[in-house]
Structures are given as C-alpha cells and as structure tokens.
C-alpha cells in the first residue's frame, strides 16, 4: 500500500493510460503548462510532450467536438473540461453529437471518448462555479456517467472507460482531490458498471455517490452510535444505474435515503426513488427520504453554502426520520 491522494490517483491513471496506448492523449484548458486547474496533470507535459498533453484555447465546444472527431478517427482522447460548469458550453457536442452519432449512423460510427470534469460545491466559488450536474448528464441515452469517490476508483475507472466503445463522462468531486489514503501499489483498472456497498448494515440503505459518499459514511458512523446500522451504497456509475445492488439492499433494510448533491427537483435522487418504488415498493416500510441541494443557486458565504448542500447532520436526520426515530 502507498500513501497517496485522489488527485495523484487520477494523475497516475492518466499517465498509465498514455503509456499503455499510443492512441490516448489528454486535452483541455490548462492541462499542460499550468499543470491542470486542480493540478491533476502536473508534470505530465514534461513527461509526454505537447502532442499528448494538449493545451486548448477556451473553446469548450470546439475541443470537445474535436475529441469526438478524433475518437471517430481512431484515437482515444481524454478531454478534460475544467469543471462541469463550463461543460455547458460543450453541451451541444456532448448531447447532439457524442450521444447520438452511433444511433444516427445506424451503428456505423462510434465515439470512444472519455470526458473528465470536476464537479460540486464546497469551496465558496459561488453560483457559477459550484454546480453538480452529473444527474443531468445521466439523463442522456448514448453516454455513460461515472462518479469515482474512492482512491481505487479514481485510479481504476479511467482505463476501463477508455476501453468502452462509447462516450464516458467521469465526474470528479472538487472536494475529493486533496483526500489522502492508502492505495495498493499495483492498483489498476476496476469495473465501471456496479455499485458498491461501502458499509454494510441492516437498518436503512443510504444511497449516494461522489463527494457525498464520505459525508454519508460519516453520518453512518454517527448513526451507529445510536444503534442504527446503516448500509451505505456508492453508486459509482450514474448511468447505467446498478438497480440490482440498490434493490438487494432495500429488500434487506426496507428503508432508503438518497443523498445527491444535485438539486432536488427532477434529480438523480428522484430517478432512484422512482426505481425503488417501481421495483421494491412492497419491501418498503417507510417513505423514501432524500437529502439533496436546496433549490437555490449556490451562495458565496460559507455558512450559506454549507446549508445549501448535503451535510452529515442532515443525512443522519433523514435516516432517523425514515426509521421513525426523528
């Protein structure tokens, strides 16, 4: 085991992919000389040169579309959109091209592209730099959406995503980049289609992903002090969703709370709750709970930002409500 960070795990994943496959290259804003907005790609330009660590102008639509074209042309690009907030400038390319070309062409042309981006609030960056729109992207058929929350997934999901013949979006929560932990020295590719039970429990299922995983695990620890054994599920893949793991957990615990940093209305949490109702209604002993972001653009002041997004006390309280112990 080696001591590392989420940031270094992502960097190692990129380095490994570029070494393994001559078709792989990274492009995005400030990925080269600056070293990446979040320092993920620091040092890679020196190691691999400007062709494979390609700085782009601030042309999100242009270089995302170029990634799609390059993927169709036989390369395996990793496009880094600095943050999900700027991905909106590339939404036309992601939705109208990457997600549709295989279908529109009757299966003739595929887009084996990986798009990485940072997501989430928590750094007092205010309303235009704090979005969590991964749930939006999970709405779109034709793409896959991943949310690595652990060091293993930060290290292992990229290579598997690059092997996928279809476009894969990877969302890295900004609050995780500094997270430290132990990672096996030989850590490598992981599956990208299964949810993981991060903490087993019998009383309630807490279903979450990404940056909220750690808050949810902390809430589960707090609940244990009150003799509540919560099961924590890390979705890992937001599209497709691993219904089987979710339903197996709910069948066991008979109660569920979904924790999602997206806004509550029309959210990924709404989708998961609906699926539980559709597939496991008779197993439920209580209404499904949701802890989502409040219906407000993310504010700048720390106390308001804190109040806007899911936090440990809210998660624990929602679990107790579902258990009738509020």
């Amino acid at each position: 085991m080696i001591e590392t960070t989420y940031r270094e795990a992502v960097r190692e994943a990129i380095r490994d992919a570029i070494k393994r496959d001559t078709r792989v290259f990274l492009m995005g804003e400030d990925v080269g000389r600056y070293g990446g907005c979040y320092a993920v790609s620091k040092g890679l330009l020196t190691e691999f040169g400007p062709e494979r660590i390609r700085d782009t102008p601030l042309s999100e639509s242009g270089f995302t579309g170029a990634g799609i074209g390059a993927a169709m042309g036989g390369m395996r690009p990793i496009v880094e959109l600095m943050t999900v907030n700027f991905s909106l400038l590339a939404l036309d390319q992601i939705l109208n091209n990457a997600a549709t070309i295989r279908h529109m062409s009757g299966g003739q042309f595929g887009v084996p592209l990986v798009i990485r981006m940072a997501t989430g609030a928590g750094r007092q960056l205010a309303a235009q730099h704090s979005h969590s729109l991964e749930g939006w992207y999970a709405h779109i058929p034709g793409i896959k959406v991943l949310a690595p929350a652990t060091l293993e997934d930060a290290r292992g999901m990229l290579w598997t995503a690059l092997q996928d013949p279809d476009p894969v979006l990877i969302f890295e929560n900004v609050m995780l980049y500094n997270m430290m932990g132990k990672l096996a020295a030989d850590a490598g590719p992981v599956d990208i289609d299964k949810a993981a039970v991060r903490r087993p429990g019998r009383d309630i299922s807490l279903i979450t992903y990404g940056g909220s995983l750690w808050k949810t695990l902390e809430a589960a620890t707090a609940l244990a002090a009150d003799k509540i054994e919560a099961e924590v599920i890390d979705l890992r893949s937001l599209r497709p969703l691993d219904d089987a793991t979710i339903m197996a957990s709910v069948a066991k615990t008979r109660r569920a709370v979904i924790v999602d940093e997206g806004w509550r209305s029309s959210s990924l949490a709404a989708e998961i709750a609906t699926r539980i109702v559709e597939q496991a209604f008779w197993a439920l002993d209580a209404p499904i709970g949701r802890v989502c972001t409040e219906e407000v653009p993310i504010p700048y002041p720390a106390h308001l930002e804190y109040a806007a997004i899911p936090q440990v006390p809210k998660i624990a309280a929602a679990a107790k409500t579902a258990l009738g112990r509020a």
């Binding site: 639509s61 074209g69 042309f109």
Partner: protein
C-alpha cells in the same frame, strides 16, 4: 474523374460526368419532393436545388480515403461521394436498408464505406468533428484531407470561430467548404453578419481562403483542386467559400416570405446545370443525344432507388433501442 490535383481535365468525358452528376442530384431531389408530397418521405427535407455545382465540383477531387463531414442539406454530397442512391432513398423512407439503417433520415446520411461522417443537423456542430478527425489524422501521421461542408449560417455560431481557430492554431488538414446561399433559413446574410464577405473571416484566422462562383462547376472544381492540393501538401486548413443560391424553399415547410420572387428568378438565370449545359452545347462538346442519354440513365437509376426503398423493410419495434450503445456483434447484413 479523379485526375491529378494539379491540373484540370476538361476532357469531353469529364465534362459530361460533371453535367450528369449535377442533373443526377437535381432529378433525385425532384423525386424526393414528389415523394414528400405523397408522404413517403417525412420529417425535414432540405433540398440542394441550385447548389449542385458545389458538391459536384468539390467531392470528386477528394481521394477515397479522405473524410467528409456534411450538413443536413447533404443529399448531393452523399450521392456524389458514392453512397448508393438506393441506400439514400431507403434512408429517406426510414427503411432499415437505408445508409443509416433508417435511423437518421434525410438529415443524417452516414456511410462508413465512403468515409461519409453525416449528415449533421445542428448548424455549426459538424465543424469541431472535422477538426477532431483532422487531429486524429495528424497524430497518426496520415495524409488525409477532411472536407467539412458548412452553410453561411454557421458563420454566426461560436463553433465556427472555435473550429477555425483550432484548425489554424494546430495546423490541421481541414478543407472548409462554405456553401454561401445567402440565407440562414429565412434570414439574409446582411441581416445576420456585420461582415458579409465570409472568406475574410477565415483569413482573420490566418487560414488561406478564397471565394468562388458556386454556380460554375468548372470554377468550383478548379478552386477545389487548388484547395485540396494545398491541404494535402501543407497539412494546414483552407477555406473555400462557394457563392451559390438555393432555388427552392429552406425546407418543405417554408413559404419563402423573406425573399422576392424576382430575386429567385434572377438567380435561376445562373442555374449551374442550365448554364453549364448551354456552354457545353455552344462549345459543341455535347450533343442533344448525350443529354437525353444522361436523363434516361438517371431516370432509370431513380426508378430503381424508389423501387428499392419501397421494397425495403421496417426495423422491428423490438429493436427500438439498438445502436444507443455498441453491440458486441452487429447482424450479418452489416
């Protein structure tokens, strides 16, 4: 008719082929319009009527290995590129024998065999794809030319400017072919651009650019030879603006309230087919029988395409969600 890029081949055979390709597009689309009124073809149908000299002048100059990114007004491009008319017509019908298995329709003709990358119906959205295809070719050490068709309406889109900048900045082999037909749907160029001389915009990005009479197939072909050769050798982008006009409505839903009939009539005097045919006749390069023969061949081909489409089959509804993601194995017929 793929002659060396450095000289024009104005042999009688070549000239006849240029004429035939233009008439072939015109007659095919006349048939499409007719089939549209019969509700055999539905959705949007954008006809190329008047602009044929652009596709016919440019596409045969490309090599087979080159790649093409087209717009939603792309029947002509697909036909000239060699996508079988039968498969194009079946696509219009939505039949699974179509070039995109019926999934795309008129606006999304795709064909892997001829490197025809659509059929892109978001204005400007195809340009970044062409940039990426060119980037892939450069990184693989290839010598391709990526031909990217766009209308002048795309010039107002951010993706136009982003793509031209990237192509020039990174030195990518993209031939941008702007079909300037003066109207973005119903909005005249002068009402949407502060600078209406479009090729100047490309020049601002340090891209070699030129404008050509898009109603003159020989002029377009000559310009395309210069352009393709320049891209092939320099591995840098080139911008060719073809000044043309669409005689018919934007789509089948357009009452054309935005332009005078007299203006359309003026442009009809420059009809690329009529003009070229008259020149060929005046120069004694073709005979009346040649045109009759061409028309007969095309009529027969179109009849065959319609019969093929009529005989085509509907994809079973059970297969609705196919092609959303890759399948490990495609059916034997692909």
């Amino acid at each position: 008719m793929t002659a060396p890029a450095d000289k024009l081949h104005l042999s009688r055979e070549h000239l006849l082929d240029l004429l035939k390709q233009m008439i072939r597009i015109r007659r095919f689309e006349d048939k499409c319009a007719e089939l549209y009124t019969q509700e055999k073809i539905r959705g949007f149908l954008h006809l190329y009527d008047g602009e044929e000299a652009v596709a016919v002048g440019v596409i045969p100059v490309l090599e087979k290995r080159d790649r093409i990114v087209a717009t939603y007004r792309e029947h002509g491009q697909a036909l000239v590129r060699g996508v079988p008319m039968t498969k194009i017509m079946a696509e219009m019908y939505g039949k699974q024998e179509g070039c995109s298995r019926g999934r795309g329709g008129s606006m999304h003709l795709f064909d892997q065999a001829t490197n025809f990358h659509g059929g892109n119906a978001i204005v400007g959205g195809g340009l970044p794809l062409a940039v990426g295809l060119a980037l892939a070719d450069r990184m693989q050490g290839g010598d391709l030319v990526i031909a990217c068709f766009l209308g002048e309406g795309a010039v107002a889109e951010g993706e136009f400017h982003e793509s031209l900048n990237l192509a020039a900045l990174w030195g990518l082999p993209v031939l941008f072919v702007c079909e300037n037909n003066l109207y973005a749907m119903g909005t005249a160029l002068a009402l949407s651009e502060s600078e209406t001389d479009i090729q100047r915009k490309a020049a601002c990005y340090r891209i070699v650019s030129e404008a050509v009479d898009g109603m003159d197939v020989v002029a377009v072909e000559a310009a395309a030879r210069r352009a393709v050769q320049a891209v092939r050798e320099s591995r840098k982008p080139y911008f060719l603006e073809c000044r043309t006009y669409r005689f018919r409505a934007h789509s089948m839903f357009d009452a054309q309230l935005y332009r005078d009939k007299a203006e359309v009539e003026t442009w009809r005097q420059k009809d690329p087919i009529v003009r070229f045919q008259e020149w060929l006749e005046a120069s004694h390069l073709i005979h009346a029988q040649d045109v009759l023969r061409i028309e007969a061949e095309i009529a027969s081909e179109i009849a065959g395409a319609v019969a093929f489409a009529e005989a085509g089959t509907w994809e079973p509804v059970e297969q609705l969600t196919r092609f959303t993601y890759a399948e490990s194995a495609l059916p034997a017929d692909r």
